[in-house]
C-alpha cells in the first residue's frame, strides 16, 4: 500500500486500542447483518415506504423511542466503562485520552441523543392523541426534525471509529476546545452534530407549540387540557427560546475553528467566557426542557393509578409557567466560580433557589393526588413513586448548589455529578420510562409484563442509590469530576468501589427492561379495549394502536379528563350523545422521502465540515438548498382518505 494511503488511514481511522478495533469490527458486522436481514426478507421497500418516508407522528414517535433506547445503551456502556476505570485507584483500564473521550460522549449522548429523543418520542406519541388531533401542525417538518436528529446521532457516533471523539467535556469550553489546544476532528464532530440536531429540536419545539395552541379538539380550552400537554407546551416554549443560544455558541466556536476567527481564543482579544455564558443560556433551560415532560408524565400517571382527579390543576399549570420563565434567568449558577462579582452571584443564586418553590408545589400536588385515592402499583406508578424521593433529594442538593458561596466548594466536584444524575435519571429517565410503560399498549397494542418490570425497577432504583449517594460523599472529600484516575490514600477508594457496583446494578436493571420488552413482544397480553388502565384522557378512547388518522370523528370536549367523564356518564347510564355526524373524508399529508434525503445531505455537509473537506460540505449544503427549493415548488402534498376506507378500518377495530 502506498505510504500516503497508510498515513491517511491511520489518521482517519481511530487506532491504537483493542477496544476500538473491537468497536470497528462490531459496527461493520452489525451493519452487514442489518443489510443482510433487510435484503433476505425483502424488507427494503417496506422500510422505505413505512418508515423512512413516513410523516405519521405515531411512527416518528416509535422511531424516536427506539433511537433513545439505543442511545441510552451506548451512553450507559460509556458510563460503565468510566465506572470500571474509577473502581480502584490508579486504574489502568482506560488511558487519559480515552477516558476523556468517553465522558464527553457519555454526557453529550445522554442529554442530546437520549433525553431529547426520549421526550420527543413522548411528544409525538401522545400529544395529538390527547388533544384530539389527527397529526401535528407540520407533519413534514416533524419528519425533518427526526431525520436531522438521526443523522446527527450517527455523525457523533461515527467519531468513535473515524477521526476520534470529542474530548473536551459535554460543555466543550474553549480555549480547551478551540484551535491551539484541540486540532483534531473530534471537536468538529461535536459542533456539527449538535448544530444539526439543534436545528431539528428547534423545529420540534415550534411544531408542538403550534400544534397545542391551535389544534385542540373543539371544547378543549387551555384549562381543560391534560397536564402532559401543558408540560409539552412549556418545554416547547423553552426550546424555542433556548436553543438559539446553543446554535449561536456552537456556530461561533465553529467559525473560530474553521475560519480562524477569534471569538473565544486566548489571542487577538477573544473572550472564552462569552462561550461559557452563551452555552449556559441554553444549558440551563435545557435541563428543564428534559424534565418538564417527565413532570407531565407523572401528572397523568398519578391521576390514572390513584383513580382520582389530579390535585390542584390550576396551581400545577401556574407552577409550570413560573418554572418556564424563571429557568431562563438562572444560567449563571453554572459558573458562580468565575468571579463575576457578588451582585451578579447573589441575583442568580436567588433566582435559582426560587425555582424550588413551584417545583415543590408540584411534588406536593402529586402526593395529594395519591392521597385518598385507590392506588394500583403498576410499573408506570412504580417509576413515578421511585421518582419522588429521588427528585426531592436531587432537587434539595440543587438548592444546596444554588447557594453561591457553598457552590464554591461543590463546583465541579462529585457532589455536582451526584446532583445532576439524581435529577436527570431520577427525573427525566424515570419519567420517560414511566411514560414508556404507560403508553406502550397504546403504541404497540400489547402490555409490558409486570413481573419483569418490577424486577427491572428495583434493580435500577436500588442500583441508583448505591451508585450515586456515595458520590455526594466523594464531593465532600474533594474529588473533582473528569479525572481519569486518582491516587490511593485519599479515602476515595471505598466510595468509588461501591459506586461502581451500583452502576452495574443499574446496568442489570437496563438489561431487564430490554428483556421485558422482548418477552412481552413475544408473549405479552394484547390490549383489545384500547383502555387498559382505565384512563382519563382522550388517547384511551381510541383503539390500540390508533388508526393512522387517529380520530374517525373529532371528539367534542366538555371538561377536563374528557374520556373519564364520558365513561362516567355512560356508567351513570346517561344518554351519551354518540356523534351521529356522518363520516367525512379525512385530509392527510402525503409521505415524502425528502426529509430523509435532506437530512442525509445535512450529514454530508456535516461530515465534510468535520474533516475540512469543503467541496463535500458545499455539495451537501447545495443539496439541502435544492431540497428546499423543490419543496417550495411542490403543491401536491396531501390526499383524502375516502369514507369507505375509514369505515373499513373502524370496523376492523370493532367500532362503528
Amino acid at each position: 500500500m502506498p505510504a500516503s494511503v497508510t498515513n491517511f488511514a491511520t489518521h482517519f481511522f481511530v487506532t491504537g486500542e483493542p477496544m476500538i478495533y473491537g468497536a470497528d469490527v462490531a459496527i461493520v458486522l452489525v451493519s452487514l447483518a442489518i443489510l443482510f436481514v433487510l435484503t433476505y426478507f425483502k424488507k427494503w421497500k417496506w422500510l422505505w415506504k413505512e418508515w423512512l418516508t413516513t410523516v405519521d407522528h405515531k411512527k416518528i414517535g416509535i422511531m424516536y423511542l427506539i433511537a433513545a433506547l439505543l442511545m441510552m445503551f451506548r451512553g450507559g456502556v460509556d458510563a460503565l466503562l468510566m465506572r470500571t476505570q474509577l473502581m480502584l485507584p490508579n486504574g489502568r483500564f482506560l488511558q487519559a485520552q480515552h477516558y476523556n473521550e468517553i465522558f464527553t460522549t457519555h454526557g453529550t449522548l445522554m442529554i442530546l441523543f437520549m433525553a431529547m429523543p426520549f421526550i420527543f418520542a413522548m411528544f409525538n406519541i401522545v400529544v395529538p392523541l390527547q388533544i384530539g388531533a389527527r397529526d401535528v401542525a407540520f407533519p413534514y417538518l416533524n419528519a425533518i426534525s427526526f431525520w436531522l436528529f438521526f443523522v446527527a446521532a450517527m455523525l457523533l457516533n461515527l467519531s468513535f471509529v473515524i477521526g476520534g471523539s470529542p474530548d473536551a467535556g459535554w460543555v466543550s469550553y474553549p480555549p480547551l476546545a478551540d484551535l491551539p489546544f484541540d486540532r483534531g476532528p473530534g471537536e468538529n464532530f461535536y459542533l456539527l452534530s449538535l448544530q444539526i440536531t439543534g436545528i431539528g429540536s428547534m423545529a420540534t419545539g415550534l411544531n408542538f407549540f403550534v400544534t397545542i395552541m391551535r389544534m385542540r379538539a373543539p371544547g378543549m380550552t387551555l384549562m381543560r387540557m391534560p397536564l402532559f400537554c401543558w408540560a409539552v407546551l412549556s418545554a416547547s416554549v423553552l426550546i424555542i427560546v433556548a436553543f438559539p443560544a446553543l446554535t449561536a455558541a456552537l456556530a461561533l466556536l465553529l467559525i473560530d475553528r474553521v475560519a480562524g476567527a477569534h471569538f473565544f481564543t486566548m489571542l487577538a482579544g477573544g473572550n472564552p467566557m462569552m462561550y461559557v455564558n452563551l452555552f449556559w443560556v441554553w444549558g440551563h433551560p435545557e435541563v428543564y426542557i428534559v424534565v418538564l415532560p417527565a413532570f407531565g408524565v407523572f401528572s397523568e400517571v398519578v391521576a390514572t393509578f390513584a383513580k382520582k382527579r389530579v390535585f390542584g390543576y390550576a396551581s400545577m399549570v401556574a407552577s409550570m409557567m413560573v418554572i418556564t420563565v424563571i429557568s431562563y434567568l438562572v444560567w449563571l449558577h453554572h459558573f458562580f466560580t468565575m468571579g463575576a462579582g457578588p451582585g451578579v452571584n447573589s441575583f442568580f443564586a436567588l433566582a435559582s433557589m426560587i425555582i424550588a418553590i413551584p417545583t415543590g408545589v408540584k411534588v406536593f400536588n402529586w402526593l395529594m393526588t395519591l392521597f385518598r385515592g385507590r392506588i394500583r402499583l403498576t410499573p408506570p406508578l412504580l417509576w413515578t413513586l421511585g421518582f419522588v424521593p429521588n427528585f426531592a433529594i436531587g432537587g434539595a442538593t440543587g438548592v444546596m448548589l444554588a447557594v453561591a458561596p457553598a457552590d464554591y466548594q461543590y463546583h465541579n466536584s462529585y457532589f455536582l455529578i451526584a446532583h445532576f444524575h439524581q435529577v436527570l435519571i431520577g427525573g427525566t429517565v424515570y419519567g420517560m420510562i414511566a411514560g414508556m410503560y404507560y403508553w406502550w399498549p397504546k403504541v404497540f397494542g400489547f402490555l409490558l409484563g409486570e413481573r419483569l418490570a418490577r424486577h427491572a425497577f428495583w434493580w435500577f432504583n436500588i442500583g441508583f442509590y448505591v451508585c450515586f449517594l456515595p458520590q455526594y460523599f466523594l464531593g465532600y472529600m474533594g474529588m473533582t469530576r473528569r479525572i481519569y484516575t486518582y491516587p490511593p490514600g485519599m479515602g476515595w477508594t471505598t466510595w468509588n468501589f461501591i459506586s461502581t457496583l451500583g452502576a452495574y446494578m443499574m446496568g442489570i436493571g437496563f438489561i431487564l427492561i430490554a428483556a421485558n420488552i422482548v418477552q412481552s413482544a413475544l408473549h405479552g397480553v394484547r390490549d383489545t379495549t384500547g383502555d387498559p388502565w382505565d384512563g382519563r384522557t382522550l388517547e384511551w378512547s381510541l383503539p390500540s394502536p390508533a388508526p393512522h388518522y387517529n380520530f374517525a370523528r373529532i371528539p367534542t370536549v366538555h371538561s377536563r379528563d374528557a374520556w373519564w367523564e364520558m365513561k362516567e356518564a355512560r356508567r351513570r347510564g346517561e344518554p351519551v350523545q354518540e356523534s351521529t355526524e356522518p363520516l367525512r373524508p379525512i385530509h392527510m399529508p402525503k409521505s415524502s422521502g425528502r426529509p430523509f434525503i435532506l437530512s442525509v445531505l445535512f450529514f454530508v455537509f456535516g461530515f465534510g465540515m468535520t474533516f475540512n473537506w469543503y467541496v463535500m460540505a458545499i455539495i451537501g449544503l447545495l443539496g439541502v438548498g435544492i431540497c428546499l427549493v423543490l419543496r417550495s415548488f411542490e403543491f401536491d402534498t396531501d390526499f383524502y382518505i375516502p369514507v369507505h376506507e375509514i369505515e373499513e378500518t373502524e370496523a376492523a377495530y370493532g367500532r362503528s
Binding site: D167, A168, Y173, P174, L176, F181, N271, M273, K307, K308, R309, G312, S315, F335, T337, G339, P342, S346, A349, L350, M353, A356, I357, G360, V361, V363, F364, M368, T369, L370, R372, G373, R374, I375, L377, L385, V388, P389, A396, V399, M400, V403, A404, P405, A406, D407, Y408, Q409, Y410, H411, N412, Y476, G478, T480, R481, R482, I483, M490, G491, T494
Partner: protein, 293 residues
C-alpha cells in the same frame, strides 16, 4: 483470647466499619473540616442548607410512604376514597408558603455571605499576596513579596490572610483548596482574586477543578501552612538553595507536561503581569483596587 486473635478481630471490626467510619470520622471530608475562616463560612452555610432542605425533603418522603401504604387498591381497604377531591385553598397556601419561607431565609444568608467572601477575612496578621498561574498541567506559584516561586506546592504562613491572584496561561482551570475555602476559576488574560486563610499549620489538599485535558487528573498540589517564623526560614532557604526561574525555564514550564514539585529562588520581573497581558489582559478595563501592602 490470644493477643493475635484479638488484633485480628479488631482489624476485622475496623474493616467492617470502614464505610461507617468514613462518614463519621471525617478527617477526609475536607469540606466539613474547614481549617480557615473562608471555608468555615462556607461550611456553616452548607450545614444551614442541609437542615433547611431536610425540613421539607424528609417529610415529603415519609408522607409518600404513608400514602402509598394507606391507600392501596386492595379489597377491604377501608381508607377513605374521594375521587373528586381536587382542590384545597388551605393546603395550597401551606405548600406555596413554607418553601417561600425557607427560600427567603436561605436567600438572606446566601446574599450576606456572597458579599462577605469578596472581602479579606478578618485580619489576624498582615495580608500577603501569592500569584497563581495554571499551566498545562501544573501550578506555578509566585511570591511577589518574597521573590521566590514554586511549582505544584505552596507554603503560606498560618493565621495570615492570603490574597491569591489567579490566572491561567493554558485552558481555564479552577483553583481549589477545600479545607481553606471554595474555588475560583483561573482564566487566561484575567487576574481574579481569592482570599484564603489557614488558621492552623498543616498540609492541605488542593487541586485543579476545571478540566483541561489529558494531564488534568495530575494537577494536584499541597498547601502547607506553617508558623510565620518557619515560613520566613523556608523562604530564605529557597532563596539560598533553589535555582532561579529564567525566561527559558518558564518557556519550558509552559509546555504540556506533568512535573513534580519544584522551587525557584527568583523569577523574571513582571512575569505574571506579562503573562496576563499577552493573553488578552489589556481588555480588562477595571481599576485595580489595591489590596496588597
Amino acid at each position: 483470647m490470644s493477643e493475635m486473635g484479638l488484633r485480628r478481630l479488631r482489624r476485622l471490626g475496623v474493616l467492617a466499619a470502614v464505610p461507617l467510619l468514613c462518614t463519621g470520622c471525617g478527617e477526609r471530608y475536607f469540606i466539613l473540616n474547614p481549617a480557615g475562616p473562608v471555608a468555615n463560612v462556607e461550611k456553616n452555610l452548607i450545614v444551614l442548607t442541609f437542615v433547611l432542605t431536610g425540613i421539607v425533603v424528609i417529610p415529603v418522603i415519609a408522607l409518600m410512604a404513608f400514602i402509598v401504604t394507606r391507600y392501596r387498591d386492595k379489597p377491604g381497604n377501608t381508607a377513605p376514597y374521594e375521587p373528586e377531591w381536587s382542590e384545597s385553598k388551605t393546603l395550597e397556601i401551606i405548600w406555596w408558603g413554607i418553601p417561600i419561607l425557607i427560600i427567603a431565609i436561605l436567600g438572606t444568608f446566601t446574599v450576606r455571605d456572597t458579599f462577605r467572601l469578596v472581602r479579606p477575612p478578618v485580619a489576624s496578621g498582615p495580608p500577603m499576596t501569592i500569584q497563581v498561574t495554571s499551566l498545562d498541567w501544573k501550578w506555578l506559584f509566585q511570591y511577589p513579596g518574597q521573590n521566590i516561586a514554586t511549582v505544584n506546592y505552596v507554603r503560606i504562613p498560618a493565621g495570615r490572610p492570603v490574597e491569591f491572584v489567579l490566572t491561567s496561561h493554558a485552558p481555564m482551570n479552577s483553583f481549589w483548596v477545600p479545607q481553606l475555602g471554595g474555588q475560583e476559576y483561573t482564566m487566561p488574560g484575567m487576574a481574579m482574586r481569592l482570599w484564603l486563610q489557614a488558621d492552623r499549620p498543616g498540609t492541605y489538599f488542593g487541586s485543579g477543578a476545571n478540566f483541561t485535558g489529558r494531564g488534568f487528573a495530575h494537577m494536584r498540589f499541597n498547601v502547607i501552612a506553617m508558623p510565620s517564623a518557619d515560613f520566613d526560614r523556608w523562604t530564605q532557604q529557597v532563596k539560598r538553595t533553589a535555582p532561579p526561574l529564567t525566561t527559558a525555564g518558564y518557556k519550558a514550564l509552559e509546555q504540556q507536561s506533568v512535573v513534580g514539585q519544584l522551587q525557584y529562588s527568583s523569577f523574571p520581573k513582571g512575569l505574571f503581569e506579562q503573562t496576563i497581558r499577552t493573553d488578552g489582559g489589556m481588555y480588562m478595563k477595571q481599576k485595580m483596587e489595591t489590596a496588597t501592602d
